[in-house]
Every structure is written in C-alpha cells, then in structure tokens.
C-alpha cells in the first residue's frame, strides 16, 4: 500500500532577466507523506477514516521583475523646438547588473484528517517561508538621475498557519454542511543588505512605506496625527511643537522622537500595515428536497488601509468635499479635535488617513430550486437567485475595505487611491439540461 510517499525534485532554472553571472538558480525540493490511516492499526477504525501527515521542504525562485531590468534602458519620445517636433532619446531605467534570483525556502508541516467516514474533514498546515535576495523596487536618490531601482535587498520571513474544517452537520432529507477556513500569516524583514531601512514611495499617492529589519514589509511610514490645534494661542504656547505658520484648526502631529521639536521628516514612524492579522471564510449549505441554499461569509482582520481618497473628499474649497466633512470639520465657533479646519491640507502622509481595514462580509447567498420536471426531452431543470456582496460590517469610511490600488507591489499593499469598489450584484437564472 501507499503508506509512505516520497517526492524529490531538482531543477536548474535560467532567466535572461538577471545579470550576466547570476542567470541560473538551482531549486531542489523534497516531500514526505505518511498515510497513517492505511496502517494496520487504523485500517479498521470507525472514528478515523483518513489521516495523513505531510512534511515538505523546497526552494523556489522568483524572477518576476519584468524584462531587461539588469540593463540600463533608453526610450525615445518627442519634444519641440519652435513649432517643429523633434525626437528625443533618454535613459528610462538605471539598470542593475547584479540582479539575481530571489529564493524562497519553504518548510511545510501538516496533516489531513477525516473523521466518522469523512463526515468531518480537517486540513491543517504550518509553514515557514524564508526569502533571501528579496527583489524589491526601492527609492533611489535623484542624484543618480533616477528615483527607483530594483535590487536584491535582503531577507524576509513569512510564517503562518492555515486551518480548514468541513463537516456534514445533518445528513438526510434535510442536509446541512459547513466548511470554514482561517489562516494567519506573520511577515518580518530579517536582514537588509546595506542600509537600516529602505523607503518605497507609491507613485500614485506619494504615500511612503518602509522596509525595515524586524518589521513587516510595506509598513506605512509617516507622521502621527494628534488632534487639532484649537486656537492660534495654543499654537504659540506650544512653541517648537507646532509647525511654523500653524493656526487654530491646523492638524497637530506627535513629536515622535521626543526632542521637543516637531519636524515633518524626523518625527515619522510606522503608522500601520496593509497586511491582515488573519483572514477567514465560512460557507454553510442547506438542502431539502429540491431546494438548496448556500451562504458564504468572508472576513479580514487586523489590517490598515491608507484612505487616500479622503485627501480629496476632505479638502475645501473645490467641488470634491463631502457633506460629512463640511459638517464636522473644525471651525472657530464649532471646535473639533478629529477633523482639521477646511483650510488645512497638511495631513497627507500621516496617520490621519490610516483606518482599520477589518471587515466581515456576506459575500454570497444563493438559493436554488430543482423543478420537479422530468420529460423525455428535459432531463433536469433548476432556477436560482443569488446575490454578491450583500452585507458588510466594517468601520472603514472609504467606499470599500476590500481594496488594493496597486496590485503589483507587495510594498504598497492597502492603499486606497480611488479604487473602484466591488459591486453588489443580484442574479436570477435558470438551467435546463436536455
């Protein structure tokens, strides 16, 4: 019997995207699984119908950086002298000849368990992923002629657990099944090649995230919003803790380094992270005779969103301010410590725009009925009604917490830059099989 399963693989991958001496990488992996339920001592067990332990370890490589990044690239464009169009050629990227494979070593231990003739099934995994030579686009001083470069900047660790349980709660004419999953991941930068920290600026919003040893990748980096200066006298009394030119109604920021002077640059710190603490999902299905109902909840917990949309909806003048802001912001006669005066814009890149991104959402409900219709021509017929994104429980004030404006980057996760929200959809339909 297949009680012990071994897998060993090894591969050498080459990618033209890397520097001349770094094109090839060796990526071995090994896995072992033990199907305990096939052992003699469990073979006839009523309670345990399936049990399998799994262990695996492997290296994988990532070259997902686009073509030609190791070479300095030039592009052509057009410009004008007088009223005559001319062609231009200019360097577009600086190129990095030292680029090499990003490698991830993944250790995974888990088990699959089936109880009571697989009426209850459990899958659990614990993993540790160690990424070395992390490929990341980081900010570059402009004196190089460029503002960003892709480099292998250091090491990163992801570890986490994933747990999935599904069960048949009631079986018979009326059937109820539940399946749920929950997973938690912890991410941490463990080493950086030649700096204490790197900053990454999101091109769309100018929000900065920081890559720093000991911290999760892509942590939001900025000033800490600390209420509103209520009066100009309070600003004067605060001295160096206020910014030059602040008046009553101006946002107030924390003196993070405690030197008694507020400075836009030196008083920045980590103010949030777009990565969730855990994510979960729960599906219940019910069926009785021809009727079937499925209800799917989905949730995300413990992440923050940088709600950049508010930098437009909370600015007056302009046609873009929301009524709720107009009503609530600081005014001489109507003080507020939560929202600055409408004449103040100086709150971007601060925790003022950081919000909790946790949510629980009724993602999908679907109700169907199998018509008692069976003729020579029609083999089966079913009608159904279903709805997507029906209910959301969240404190997020933006359009939608399920958002990520920049899908391509793991350093600017959780930035809401006027992202288009998912729509609530209702579907009515029918299926006939002939």
């Amino acid at each position: 019997m297949d009680r012990y399963l071994f897998t060993l693989t090894g591969r050498i991958d080459g990618s033209s995207r890397f520097g001349l001496n770094n094109k090839y990488g060796f990526f071995p992996s090994g896995a072992f699984a033990w199907r305990v339920s096939d052992e003699l001592f469990l073979k006839n067990s009523k309670a345990i119908s399936d049990l399998k332990f799994r262990l695996s370890y492997g290296l994988t490589g990532n070259d997902g950086i686009g073509l030609y990044n190791s070479l300095p690239s030039y592009v052509t464009s057009r410009s004008v002298f007088g009223d005559t169009e001319v062609v231009t050629t200019q360097a577009a990227t600086i190129g990095n000849p030292d680029l090499r494979w990003e490698k991830t070593a993944q250790f995974d231990a888990g088990f699959d368990l089936g109880l009571l003739n697989n009426r209850i099934q459990v899958t659990a995994d614990y993993y540790v992923k160690t990424t070395t030579d992390l490929l990341l686009g980081i900010d570059l001083p402009a004196t190089t002629g460029f503002t960003t470069v892709i480099r292998n900047i250091g090491s990163l660790q992801n570890k986490g657990v994933e747990l999935g349980i599904s069960s048949v709660n009631i079986d018979g004419k009326f059937k109820w099944t539940t399946s749920g999953n929950i997973s938690a991941n912890r991410n941490k930068v463990t080493r950086l090649a030649d700096a204490d920290q790197y900053l990454v600026t999101d091109p769309g919003t100018s929000m900065q995230t920081i890559v720093k040893v000991g911290e999760p990748i892509g942590s939001f980096y900025g000033r800490v919003f600390d209420g509103v200066w209520q009066t100009t006298d309070a600003v004067k009394a605060a001295g160096a803790l206020a910014q030059t030119g602040d008046i009553g109604g101006a946002p107030r920021f924390k003196d993070v380094n405690g030197d008694g002077v507020f400075n836009n640059a030196t008083d920045r710190t980590i103010i949030g992270n777009g990565l969730p603490k855990f994510i979960y999902g729960l599906t219940n299905t019910f069926s009785y005779k021809g009727l079937d109902l499925s209800v799917f909840f989905q949730g995300v917990q413990g992440n923050q969103i940088f709600n950049y949309t508010r930098s437009v909806t909370e600015i007056d003048p302009g046609a873009t301010a929301l009524q709720s802001f107009i009503d609530d912001h600081w005014q001489t006669e109507k003080p507020s410590n939560n929202r600055p005066s409408a004449r103040q814009w100086n709150f971007t890149n601060s925790s003022y725009l950081i919000e909790s991104g946790s949510f629980l959402r009724l993602k999908n409900v679907s109700l169907g009925y199998r018509l008692p219709l069976k003729t020579k021509v029609i083999r089966s017929a079913r009608v159904y009604v279903s709805g997507q994104n029906l209910l959301t429980f969240s404190k997020y004030t933006g359009y939608d917490p399920e958002v990520n404006s920049n899908f391509t980057s793991n350093t600017t996760y959780g930035i809401d830059n006027y992202a288009y929200p998912p729509s609530r959809t209702f579907t009515i339909g029918g299926t006939i099989t002939f």
Binding site: S70, S73, Q90, T244
Partner: protein, 478 residues
C-alpha cells in the same frame, strides 16, 4: 533501437543546454540600452534633445514658484495650491511639494547631460556638430547646477553617469566647488556653441550668447564684478541682440525667439502636450464658467502700485480687467493679475504657446549696469545700459514714465537697478535670486508681513532625497 534512443536523448540534452547558454544573454535589438543608443549623429541629436526636454518641467510654474513667489512681486491666492502658499508666505518645510520635483528633475536633466558628454565623443560624426552638442549639454548642466546651488546651497556634484546602484549615498559638495564646475562648463560651451540657428528644429538651442549671458549672471551672483561686466559687455558688443521696440512683443507668442530672446525654453501649440502652463496659472479669466476667478497666481498690490506714472510696462504686465476677442470685458474680482503670459490661442487646459524666457537682452543690460556700478559706481556705460531699458518703457512718450537716470550715488544706483529688474522682469523667475544676490530677501519678506529668519535664505533639501540618501545634511533650521 534502444541504444539509438538513448543517444538521441543525450544529443537533445546537449542541444538544450548549449542553446540555453547563448539564449540567456540579453542582446538588445528592439530594446534600447546604452550600447545601442549612441551610434550615429542622429543619436547624438536625439540625446541632447532629451536634455532640453527635461528642462521644460522645471521652466514652467516650478521656476516661477521658486523664483518669483518666494519674492515680493507675485502672490498666490489662498485658494491656490497649498504648497505654493507655503512658499509664498515663507512657511515652507522640507516636505513642501515643489522642492522635491525641482531637485529631482534638475538631477534627471543633469544625468542626461552627463550621458551626452560621456557618450557622444565616441560617435563617428562631423566634429563641429559633435563639439556643439557636447557644448549644449555642458550649458544645460551648468544651468541646472546654477539653479540648484542658488536654491539649496551645497549640493552633490555629479558629473558622471551613475552605474553603481548600491553606493549612492553621496554627500553634498561645497558651493564653491559646484560654481567652479558651472563656470568651467559655461566657458567650454561658449567656445563651441554657434551664434545663432536658422533651421527649423534648431532655433531655441543654446548659443554662444546664451552661455555668455548665463556666465555673466553666475559671475554677478559670485560678486565677481569684473568678469560679470566683461561677459555682459561681450554679449552687448556682439550686436546679436537688441531690445524689441514694443515691450508687449517680448511676450507675444507669435514673436518668440526674437532679437531680445537669448535663451528660452520652447513651448508650442502644434499639439497641446507641447504647451506651457503659465497662461492658465496667471490668467485673469478661465473659459470655464465654474471658475471666474482665473488662475491663482497674481501680482502683489505693492508691485502693482510701484510703477511710476506712464510706465508702459505696467499697462502690459499688470491688469485688473481684460477685453476678450469677442468684446466681453472681464473684471478681476481678486486684485491685479500679471498679463505677460496671456495667450488668446491657447490649445488646452494648462497648454499655451508661451516660451519660458530664461534670459533676455534687457536682463543682460541690467546685469551690465549692476556690475559696473559695483566696480566703480555709476558711470556713463552703466547709465547707458539701464536707461536703454527705461527708454523702451516710455514707449516713445518722453514726458511721462521712467525718465533717464542721472546723478545717483552708488547705493542709489544699486537700488535703482534692483527696482528696474522688478518692473522689467517680474514673473519670469528672477526675483528671489535678485533679492538674494543683493542681500534684500529677508527685508522684502518682512515688508510683506511674513515672519522670516536666516534659514529662509536657502530652500530645504527635500525629505524624499534625504530618505534615500542619509548622507545628505539638511540646511540649518529645517
């Protein structure tokens, strides 16, 4: 049979392996890299065009914000860009928007210059054209460093292409060292640049007159009066340039690249993307019904009231109402506007035909007068230079307007030149640098009611740059 199969397998394995080795070398064909971007004479031309092109980002509103708004001739309405408000009111910090883009784009242009200066000499081409293109690159590099050093003080001096992306944390170099490079570049450039251009697609490039004029300004800023006067005189004596008779024609889009224009950044409406944004930002009136207040950049009341009666320049430059082509009269609701950049044939939002006048002949005449006065007090040549500018401002009516100057002390003449520059050049990106050079910036800011201190004599090094390069020190007080 079985043996053959094995052999076949081995051979194909070898083929795959060998094939891989050579395939993984990226040989750019459709892709442009440094190795195939500097081959022909045309490559040299397109590379220098890219250097000019980058200057367009700086020489529009950014240069006016840094050069004029932080002086006393212009203001921004409170509903304008908050960053411009911060600069106008001397409340700026290292995070204020304009500094980062000004700094970054200057260095991008400098990098493009460096690439031309390094790579064009390797191209087999007409040596005269080759030297000229290298001269243009040096001229532009000097121009950008001159802007940087006046704005920020000590800045990193980068004169070679950066290839190492790891060791990028270079410190600031002393102002003197940067100026040495600026002067050397301009001296090199004036030897190889032509007097003028005639071909379409060439008019607007740097000339010997442009190099000498900027050099005069550099010497003047360094208080090297002898050389400043000598360079300005060379430009005057070349007889290449003259004041246009009508002050309005200095700014008329149809009369660009005329006898007074020594070096201008080129904008055009052949397509909206080639237009400039000054017209919209200064306009007394927008065509959109939603915004009847016009552009947010205006002149200060003190500037509007500073003109002597009959000065034609006020009539051209400062308006409180405008008659449109269809006869409609638009009144300003928010005080006087600067009309230099009005373009009735603008081609889109933020796109009009106006060139940015980096340096023009009136500026050179006033620099000459300033340098001579500093050397030996006001003499005949100094009076002749400033009075030439004043005479045009009377527009043939000699009974009113600014009369010829005579009999001033050295200090009076110094003030007269500074005042003349304000009347003549407001909104063209000069005022802050003029006030700085003459030591009057802080007094001018105080006179406008702003609270200032010594720290505002320099702009702060932008935070973004210091984040990426911790070796950069910040200017005191920021």
């Amino acid at each position: 049979m079985k043996k053959n199969k094995r052999l076949l397998l081995l051979v194909s394995w070898l083929l795959v392996t060998v094939g891989c080795q050579s395939n993984l070398e990226e040989v750019p064909i459709s892709f442009l890299s440094e190795s195939n971007s500097f081959i022909t004479a045309a490559d040299a031309t397109t590379a220098i065009n890219a250097v000019y092109d980058r200057a367009k980002i700086i020489y529009q509103i950014p240069m006016i914000v840094l050069g004029d708004l932080s002086g006393d001739d212009l203001l921004v309405r409170p509903d304008g860009d908050p960053a411009v408000n911060e600069i106008d009111q001397f409340k700026y910090t290292a995070s204020t928007n304009y500094f980062d883009s000004f700094y970054t784009n200057s260095y991008v242009a400098i990098d493009r210059s460096n690439r031309v200066i390094e790579n064009v000499p390797k191209i087999a081409m007409d040596t005269k054209l080759r030297d000229q293109i290298i001269g243009e690159a040096k001229f532009l590099r000097a121009l950008h460093y001159f802007n940087l050093v006046r704005a920020f003080g000590d800045v990193p001096l980068v004169v070679k292409t950066t290839t190492d992306v790891v060791n990028v944390k270079i410190p600031r170099d002393p102002t003197d060292k940067v100026y040495q490079q600026i002067i050397q570049d301009l001296l090199d450039a004036e030897k190889v640049l032509p007097v003028s251009y005639t071909a379409a697609g060439e008019v607007g490039r740097a000339t010997v007159g442009a190099a000498k004029s900027i050099l005069a300004k550099v010497y003047l800023t360094r208080k090297d009066w002898t050389n400043a006067a000598a360079k300005a005189k060379e430009v005057i004596d070349s007889k290449t340039y003259s004041l246009v008779a009508d002050y309005r024609d200095v700014f008329t889009p149809e009369k660009e690249n005329g006898p007074e224009h020594i070096f201008s950044i080129q904008f055009s409406c052949i397509q909206p993307k080639y237009g400039s944004s000054m017209a919209e930002n200064f306009a007394i009136y927008f065509s959109y019904p939603i915004n009847l207040t016009g552009g947010s950049l205006q002149v200060t009341d003190s500037y509007a009231n500073s003109f002597v009666a009959g000065d034609y320049r006020k009539q051209v430059a400062v308006i409180t109402q405008k008659t449109l082509a269809n006869g409609t009269v638009v009144l300003s609701r928010t005080g006087p506007h600067l009309d230099k950049y009005w373009d009735p044939n603008a081609c889109g939002a933020g796109a009009a035909r106006n060139n940015f006048l980096v340096i023009r002949y009136a500026d050179v005449l006033l620099m000459y007068a300033e340098a001579l006065n500093e050397l030996a007090g006001p003499g005949a040549d100094a009076y002749a230079a400033i009075n030439q500018v004043r005479a045009r401002a009377r527009k043939g009516v000699n009974t009113t307007g600014p009369q010829d100057l005579a009999g001033l002390t050295q200090a009076q003449f110094r003030d007269a030149v500074l005042q003349e520059r304000s009347w003549e050049l407001a909104g063209e990106g000069h005022r802050r640098w003029d006030l700085l050079r003459t030591g009057k910036l802080l007094a001018a800011a105080q006179a406008q009611g702003y609270t200032v201190s010594e720290k505002y004599l320099l702009f702060p090094i932008p935070t973004f740059e210091r984040d990426a390069n911790p070796s950069l020190t910040q200017n005191p007080g920021f």
